[in-house]
């Protein structure tokens, strides 16, 4: 472990410099005893979406790692992956949410463990036998289970309500105990959570549910099974009841809107009528943040809605043709309800009509890894599930090998992580930062990004303590700008490369607004980029940053781009009567994809369809402007 190495070296050398001991930090579980800073000074990195062998599908795909393995791995320990490989993060994470599927929690494992003679249902028996045949059979069984679940055709035995409830309670209690043992305020935050895997005919309406609380409150409930629900109000009822009965706090993070066939961010309520203020208020209160990028593709923007954005469409190939379980093709008219930028615009439209914005959401990235391993570094990627852990075959295998999942594994992204500007590394501080949306997403690299919006920021502010000024005279990412200033809003934008990663190409502001006729618009501004004196913008476009990737060796050079980019930007076309949002996108210089690393490591030859390089990116939560 790196920390041990650094500390050991220090223990041996600089004892002469001792100037006193640090006060009590840490203490486990329960109320955190850590000191909070006056405002967020540090960004904390984590994964809000990790599955272990306790998830129905993860176990079926071969995952045998437990929540304990997952937590140890996230903290920086080496663990052995389900396929027997040594796995270790280059850098530990600051927090982790184990989000195993609530429905049939442990059901696949229970089916696997069940005495064969007790299984009467022929379908369950077939899955049981397949799983015991070995990895290939297990994958096939799990593929079939997912298909059946998407179509509401699961044999009742698998979701047996009585047995299922007992099993869920047992696994939930064990899971909570493990999470409590690893939650170490000030050092590493382990959240209690689960995934609410809501689906409609195979359209993805999944949410991750995260508790702010510890065992005393969270063990009063069990994860909510979505099997009987069609829409998320069912979940919001559960969340409200939890908060009321325990005094605790809980939030939900929708994910993979890209495979929802337009259902994630609808303009209408489930009953078909337009979204009402009450409905909008409820959703906004429960779901402050969405997961914008993960292994199953990126949901920021799609070229169909954003034809003028040359960087739209990252990680959309293969994910935009069908819903999650690939049983319903996606119509073009359904795309807007599936992408976050469009959701932000729809939020403005609905707010214009009802006074409430249901889609005032911040953004985070997370892995959705089903291996127990939160890996999204391109050169250390353990794949979506244990069937595609590192191997020479995995790149060109199906996304779910052994069955026609409609997608290829090379379409998987090694993405992403959640970045949180919090006042300490504790459940309370990180949760509260998510509630106020002071969070951002990256596709994996740990870039530091800060944004403040206000009415009087000037270029000179960057020369002083602009973070302090940002909080004093403006609002951070996730905040709301109220009318009050004269002129147009100005923004302090600052981005820093990952200290062990690639340089930055550019920082962009994405503005969305709704005109008086009720039509939404968007515009992407390049606001600061590397070598601005040489890369002059022409025809509204900044020339490409270049490319140093050597795909024969899977390397790149930081000889182009810049380690940091900062500016103060003022909206050139501000109309105080028009509601708008502004978020920031930061692009890295081109770097090799996980596929390129695989190609070099295993000496493979790929067809031209397989992407070997990419520009990784960060997306911030927006700042909203609302006229009076």
């Amino acid at each position: 472990m790196r920390k041990a190495m650094l500390t050991a070296a220090l223990l041996m050398t600089t004892t002469a410099l001792v100037s006193g001991c640090d006060g009590p930090r840490g203490g486990f579980g329960g109320k955190s005893g850590v000191k909070d800073t006056a405002y967020p000074e540090q960004v904390f990195w984590g994964d809000t979406h990790l599955h272990t062998g306790n998830s129905v599908d993860a176990f079926g795909f071969g995952a045998r790692l437990t929540p304990e393995d997952a937590l140890r791995f996230a903290r920086g320990e080496e663990v052995k992956s389900s396929t027997g490989l040594a796995a270790k993060l280059e850098r530990p994470l600051d927090f982790l949410v184990i989000a195993d599927h609530a429905e049939g929690i442990g059901a696949t494992k229970a089916l696997y463990d069940a005495p064969r003679m007790l299984i009467s249902d022929p379908t369950l028996l077939r899955w049981h036998d397949l799983m015991h045949e070995g990895p290939a059979g297990s994958l096939k069984a799990t593929g079939e289970i997912l298909q059946a679940r998407g179509q509401n055709k699961l044999p009742p035995g698998l979701n047996d309500p009585v047995k299922g409830a007992e099993r869920t309670r047992k696994i939930w209690d064990e899971n909570i105990d493990t999470v409590e043992r690893y939650n170490e305020p000030g050092k590493f935050t382990a959240f209690i959570g689960f995934e609410y895997t809501l689906m409609q005919g195979g359209n993805n309406l999944h949410r991750n549910v995260i508790f702010r609380d510890g065992k005393d409150k969270a063990s009063k409930v069990v994860p909510l099974d979505p099997s009987s629900a069609a829409w998320p109000e069912h979940l919001w009822d559960y969340m409200e009841a939890y908060e009321k009965s325990t005094g605790g706090k809980v939030l939900a993070i929708p994910h993979n809107s890209n495979v929802s066939n337009g259902l994630m961010f609808m303009l209408t309520e489930p009953n078909g009528g337009p979204i009402s203020a009450a409905y909008a208020r409820r959703r906004a209160a429960r779901e402050p943040v969405v997961e914008i990028t993960q292994i199953k593709g990126d949901s920021e923007a799609h070229p169909f809605m954003s034809p003028n954005d040359e960087f739209a469409g990252y990680g959309t190939v293969g994910w935009d043709t069908n819903n999650l379980i690939f049983n319903q093709p996606t119509k073009q008219s359904e795309l807007p309800g599936s992408y976050v930028r469009e959701a932000l615009k729809r939020g403005l439209l609905i707010e214009q009509r009802t006074g409430v914005n249901p889609y005032k959401v911040g953004v985070i990235g997370s892995s959705d890894s089903h291996t127990g391993l939160a890996t999204v570094d391109e050169n250390n990627f353990f794949g979506k599930h244990s069937g595609v852990e590192p191997s020479p075959q995995r790149a060109t295998a199906g996304f779910v090998p052994g069955m026609n999942s409609g997608r290829m594994n090379w379409q998987a992204l090694a993405s992403g992580y959640a970045a949180v500007w919090a006042t300490s590394n504790s459940r309370e501080a990180i949760f509260d930062a998510m509630m106020r949306r002071e969070v951002y997403a990256t596709t994996g690299p740990r870039m530091t990004v800060r944004v403040f919006g206000g009415w009087d920021f000037k270029a000179d502010d960057l020369k002083g303590d602009w973070v302090k000024a940002g909080y004093a005279r403006g609002v951070p990412m996730g905040g709301s700008l109220k009318p009050g200033g004269a002129g147009a809003p100005s923004f302090i934008l600052s981005a820093l490369k990952d200290p062990v990663g690639a340089n930055l190409d550019r920082v962009q502001v994405v503005k969305g607004w709704v005109d008086k006729a009720g039509v939404s618009h968007e515009q992407v501004f390049d606001v600061v980029w590397s070598d601005m004196d040489k890369r002059k913008a022409a025809g509204g476009k900044v020339p490409s940053v270049g490319d140093t990737v050597d795909t024969t060796r899977a390397t790149y050079e930081n000889s182009i781009g810049a380690p940091s980019l900062a500016t103060v930007w003022t909206d050139p076309a501000f109309d105080p009567k028009v509601r708008a949002f502004y978020y920031v996108r930061v692009l890295e210089i081109p770097t090799p994809t996980w596929l390129n690393y695989d190609m070099v490591k295993y000496k493979l030859k790929f067809g031209p369809e397989i992407p070997l390089k990419q520009q990784e990116r960060a997306y911030t939560s927006a700042i909203w402007y609302t006229p009076t």
Binding site: K3, T14, V18, R91
Partner: protein, 275 residues
């Protein structure tokens, strides 16, 4: 002294039970009545209520008399086939059976480690063996001015800036989301923001005055270290949970490996690979 005591104790010894049972089995197998054990199937009350319970769990109603008879017939058939299959060695060819038995053995091997509670002496020994792992991080309070990418021009500018700083003049760095002052930042936090080499470089920097340029994963910096605290020696009370976690994870892994190694010792494994 009661002379009967050792005899009574002997009777409680598991090893003695094992030997007696083994002798009985040996006698049964070698004697004239080998069928008393394997060829006798008893369906007693306990077995029947178990069958009824499972049926009720599955179908949400109790079975009828006919259905109970059917369950018993099935049970007997299962047992007959199961025992015959074992005697024919069919289990050895069946991957499902093999895997399941392996899993049962593995669970047995780790069950004890999973529920065991280590004593303080064990935990303290773990800390003593690797104090760095459990110590609270070294912490540094420092001022920092960022100068941008590590290139010759910025290095030259750094020297000039350093001279001015040492004269007490102000120097504005390159704007970046980095704090200009950090209080008691842990090594881990500093490494997360700047990279490992910066932590090591800070350690070589004398405190009290502006110094540099210091290189990080981000570029060049001028730094002034205000104070540094060595890592605190870990006390068991402060790190108990973390040490216990480590102990348990290691104990489970060790139990699994050791149990396998012990069993393996009784086997002669010959591997012949195809040419």
């Amino acid at each position: 002294m009661n002379l009967a005591q050792p005899g009574r104790q002997l009777l409680r010894e598991p090893l003695v039970h094992f030997l007696i049972a083994g002798a009985a089995v040996f006698w049964l197998l070698s004697g004239r009545a080998p069928d008393l054990g394997e060829r006798r199937i008893v369906v007693n009350e306990q077995v029947v209520s178990g069958l009824v319970q499972r049926w009720t769990d599955t179908f949400r109603r109790p079975p009828s008399q006919d259905e109970i008879d059917g369950l018993i017939r099935d049970y007997v058939q299962d047992q007959v086939y199961y025992r015959e299959a074992l005697s024919l060695g069919l289990d050895q060819e069946d991957e499902v059976v093999v895997r399941r038995m392996r899993r049962k053995m593995e669970s047995l091997a780790v069950a004890e480690a999973e529920s065991a509670e280590p004593g303080d002496a064990v935990l303290q020994a773990m800390i003593d063996k690797d104090p760095a792992r459990y110590s609270d991080d070294a912490r540094t309070s420092f001022d920092q001015i960022y100068l941008g990418a590590d290139n010759p021009a910025n290095r030259a500018a750094a020297d000039a800036a350093l001279t001015r700083l040492r004269k007490g003049e102000q120097v504005a760095g390159v704007a970046a989301p980095l704090p200009s002052h950090q209080d008691e930042a842990s090594d881990e936090a500093i490494a997360g923001t700047y990279g490992d080499e910066f932590v090591l470089a800070l350690r070589r920097t004398p405190p009290g005055q502006w110094a540099g340029p210091v290189a990080s994963g981000l570029g060049l910096h001028l730094v002034r270290i205000a104070a540094r605290t060595a890592p605190t020696k870990p006390s068991l009370d402060k790190v108990r949970q973390r040490v216990t976690n480590d102990w348990r994870a290691a104990a489970i892994a060790r139990a699994r490996d050791e149990s396998y190694r012990r069993i393996l010792e009784g086997y002669d494994v010959v591997i012949v690979r195809p040419k």
